[in-house]
């Protein structure tokens, strides 16, 4: 419950219609992109300007009420969930692109700007914003910063943190700080690097300076299908080892292909394949990219590809990609609930890990869809199920834990791009020892001594000492 005087103060700050406290409205803010987790916030506030946002944070700090930032709510770790004693601060109205500086390949945006809208605004200058999470038509740059989002093309171009130059942030106590400089050179230790990926627990990014990247003019997309998932994994390893830096290397397994082909995003993937591998090569020169594509084609063939399609025209490429980008939504057709994993393993371990994940699925008789950024070793084994079946739900839970342990044992980690949030918090002690978690906890307290910024996320309470 948020005290009435606080609600009144918030309404005075942003206008009454932008403070939501009715049950029905809060219902729509109870989940992010991972609906298996739910929490009804005490209230939701939607400030329209930066100064309103600052006022909101100051009011909440004054009353010692926790604030949880929310962008588009597409996060897949339950990061933007607030409990009943906390206020959700929704940043969707702070969606202005403040500056496109083509000469310096930079842009300055408010946090609520949607990822693809930024790229669209940069397009006339031959530039784009490179990090491209599959959710890019919906998610916000602020959310990307908070989660350090990745995407298919991050193999070549890097993830969000490689593209953030400077940040204005409002700390939980309402202080507004500028981190980093327009050039990207820090004024001191790399606080921008530290803030990116902090999942809203250090404060809220209010203004973001990003790098823009020249849009490649020559692109080839290859789609190879394999009888075995394992062979697709091996193809990835051989492409990288041969010195290619493809813009993207993505794998969809059999179950995912089936889901995609049954949805409106049909991409013409062969439904009887064990896996398809999407390879994208890009550059500024047609002939050079063409040459690379034919060399990669040879590698795919020797890795055992059954058939290889090569697309160079935008429409066909878009079609091949569409299925990949919408795969997650398409899985919604397979079951009413979806567990989304985001583990990472060293690339060379891919084939073994994939086999073992398959075994785990069989062991618990659950249906697993694997769709992943194979070039980075970033796996997304997803499990579609029905939460109302308690026995099944339990098997899914156990399978998930087994998968996570498997990936950690293979030298990997628990999340490559979706963040820890509430969903993966209990796995943190599996990857970090107490001293490391303790250091993280102390860093958090430097930014947020009163634990008012997105409390209860990222770091499990008991395992942190110091």
């Amino acid at each position: 419950m948020i005290p009435p005087e606080v609600l009144a103060a918030l309404k005075a700050a942003v206008g009454p219609q932008w403070v939501k406290d009715a049950r029905a409205e809060l219902d729509t803010y109870a989940t992010d992109g991972l609906p298996t987790h739910r929490s009804l916030p005490g209230a939701a506030v939607i400030p329209g300007r930066k100064d309103e946002l600052l006022q909101v944070i100051r009011i909440l700090h004054h009353h010692r009420i926790p604030a949880v930032a929310r962008g588009a709510g597409t996060g897949l770790s339950g990061g933007a969930l607030a409990s009943g004693d906390a206020v959700l601060v929704v940043l969707t109205r702070l969606n202005r692109i403040l500056k496109i500086d083509a000469e310096n390949r930079r842009a300055v945006v408010e946090p609520g700007v949607v990822n693809t809208r930024l790229s669209a605004a940069a397009e006339p200058f031959g530039l784009h914003y490179a990090p491209d999470p599959s959710s890019q038509p919906a998610c916000t740059i602020g959310g990307n910063v908070a989660e350090n989002a990745g995407g298919p093309h991050c193999l070549k171009y890097g993830v969000t943190t490689n593209h953030i130059l400077a940040l204005d942030v409002v700390l939980p106590d309402g202080e507004l700080l500028s981190l980093g400089s327009p050039s990207g050179e820090p004024w001191g230790p790399d606080l921008v690097g530290l803030f990116v990926g902090s999942e809203g627990t250090f404060g809220i990014a209010t203004e973001i300076t990003v790098k823009l990247t020249p849009t490649p003019t020559a692109i080839r997309t290859l789609l190879a299908d394999f009888t075995l998932l394992r062979s697709a994994g091996q193809a990835v390893t051989s492409i990288i080892a041969a010195g290619f830096v493809p813009a993207a290397l993505e794998i969809l397994d059999h179950n995912t292909i089936a889901a995609v082909e049954a949805s409106i995003y049909r991409a013409g993937y062969p439904t009887d394949a064990g896996a398809v591998l999407l390879v994208e090569l890009d550059g500024m020169d047609e002939l050079a990219v063409e040459a690379e594509a034919s060399q990669v084609e040879d590698l795919l063939e020797s890795a055992g590809a059954r058939s290889i399609q090569l697309a160079s025209d935008p429409a066909k490429r878009e079609k091949l990609w569409h299925g990949r980008k919408k795969a997650f939504g398409a899985m919604g057709r397979l079951g009413s609930d979806l567990v989304v994993q985001d583990a990472v393993v060293p690339r060379s371990k891919l084939p073994d890990v994939l086999d073992q994940i398959g075994e785990i699925g069989e062991r618990y008789s659950i249906s697993l869809c694997n769709v992943f950024h194979a070039g980075d070793g970033n796996l997304h084994p997803n499990i579609a199920f029905d939460q109302t079946d308690p026995d099944l739900a339990e098997r899914v839970r156990r399978a998930s834990t087994d998968i996570v342990r498997l990936c950690i044992e293979a030298g990997g980690t628990i999340t490559g791009e979706h963040g820890v949030g509430t969903d993966k918090m209990h796995y943190m002690p599996l990857v970090y020892d107490a001293d490391t978690l303790g250091a993280m906890n102390r860093i958090r307290h430097v930014f947020d001594p009163l634990e008012l910024a997105n409390p209860g996320k990222v770091l499990p309470v008991h395992s942190c000492r110091g």
Partner: protein, 403 residues
């Protein structure tokens, strides 16, 4: 007395000796030994100086104990199929690259200086010209081990190329000059050595070359390196624009003609061995003078940054200067007193350009701090962070103009 304690903690081999300033030099051989030393130092209220090979920052800081990374040497774990290496921070940067080359891999990073240790490159975040095509230090690091000022072993990040579990302590530690702790090992992302590697050179006036470089960028091409050097940097008489193209043969060939057209000037192409010498010698000349500064500008404000440097530090136009036209970063090496640097730092800060003292004598470092022009709020955060890693101020690293 300090020396005795070191011997009792690490044994005879743990003490390398006493340096010319009379400071005992300890060389831990593991994270645990390092932690033990720092815990002791912190409880005994010693101050500790960190040193690598001593070729970048001189071993001149006053302290009760010098802690050398000498024995934290060598490749700990190399996985060619995963293209990841874990390497001790005392390892020589050049030796690391040489041994990676055996597997046709490299780290596309060319820090200025010579004979440097991996720890020094990472802690000082000194990226060279290849930053244009491949990013700064932070973009190559997957994780590191940091022994904090109060002697805890923090293992940040990991050995996989994507990892968002928890806070990015790796980025905090890289480029903080050791103020939070001693980096004992780092995990670096590797790349396959490109099949083609070409270096193009043009000479002329500063303004002309700068325009040409901007022309290349606005054509949409981003070369591996696009660096403007002062005459002194290349031991010549004219400013030099050096372009390095890396990639497949086809891509490099295409870029070569595109670069010439976009720059609207003639480049001469260096033979491979000449190119290697050119880059190595030019970068090694950085340390010929006592101090090196880094100024963060924008590509469009490089003229202003270069003018400021000329005006405040390089009136005779004979200093080592390199401008990274893509990143907008200018590096200067020369000899200048505290006051002139301070003045430049203030002027630059007004134009939103941070000035970092990358190296220099203790008199300069201690007086000005490596950074020292933080924004107001950030100062508090930085010191609070340091306090949480090094509560008793064991590490003698002058971060800023506090104290």
């Amino acid at each position: 007395m300090v020396a005795d304690k070191i011997r009792s903690l690490l044994g005879e081999h743990g003490l390398l000796g006493i340096d010319p300033l009379g400071i005992p030099v300890a060389a831990p051989a593991s994270d645990d030994e390092c932690a033990l030393l720092l815990r002791t130092a912190s409880s005994e209220s010693w101050t500790v100086r960190i040193e690598g090979s001593g070729t970048w920052i001189p071993r001149d800081a006053r302290a009760d104990l010098a802690l050398s990374t000498m024995r934290l040497r060598g490749i700990v774990d190399l996985s060619p199929p995963d293209m990841v290496v874990t390497v001790g921070s005392g390892t020589s940067w050049t030796e690391l690259q040489t041994s990676l080359a055996n597997d046709r891999m490299w780290i596309p990073l060319d820090p200025p200086g010579s004979g440097r240790s991996v720890g020094s490159v990472v802690a000082c975040a000194t990226a060279g010209p290849l930053r244009t095509g491949f990013g700064a230090i932070r973009d190559h690091l997957l994780g590191l081990t940091l022994v904090t000022g109060d002697g805890r072993v923090v293992r940040a990040g990991g050995r996989v190329v994507k990892n968002v579990a928890g806070y990015d302590i790796t980025k905090l530690a890289a480029g903080s000059f050791g103020a939070f702790g001693i980096i004992t090992s780092v995990n670096l992302r590797l790349r396959a050595v490109p099949r083609a590697d070409a270096t193009l050179i043009a000479r002329g006036t500063r303004d002309h070359l700068l325009d040409a470089a901007r022309g290349i960028l606005s054509s949409g091409y981003t070369p591996g390196a696009l660096e403007l050097f002062s005459p002194a940097a290349v031991a010549g008489t004219e400013w030099t624009l050096a372009v390095r193209l890396l990639g497949s043969h086809e891509a490099v060939a295409a870029e070569r003609s595109a670069v010439g057209a976009a720059a609207r000037m003639q480049f001469s192409s260096l033979e491979p061995s000449d190119a290697a010498d050119f880059w190595r010698d030019t970068l090694a000349r950085t340390t010929a003078a006592p101090s090196t500064l880094r100024l963060g500008a924008l590509p469009s404000s490089l003229d202003e940054a270069l003018d400021s440097i000329a005006h405040h530090l390089d009136e005779s136009c004979d200093d080592w200067i390199a401008a990274n036209v893509h990143a907008g970063v200018v590096r200067w090496s020369g000899d200048a007193g505290v006051n002139r640097i301070r003045l430049l730092r203030n002027v630059a800060a007004h134009s939103e350009m941070p000035l970092t003292i990358e190296r220099g004598p203790w008199s300069v470092r201690s007086e000005l701090g490596h950074f020292g022009a933080f924004r107001d709020g950030a100062v508090r955060l930085v010191y609070a962070l340091r306090n949480s890693f090094d509560p008793s101020r064991t590490l003698a690293i002058p971060l800023g103009r506090e104290s």
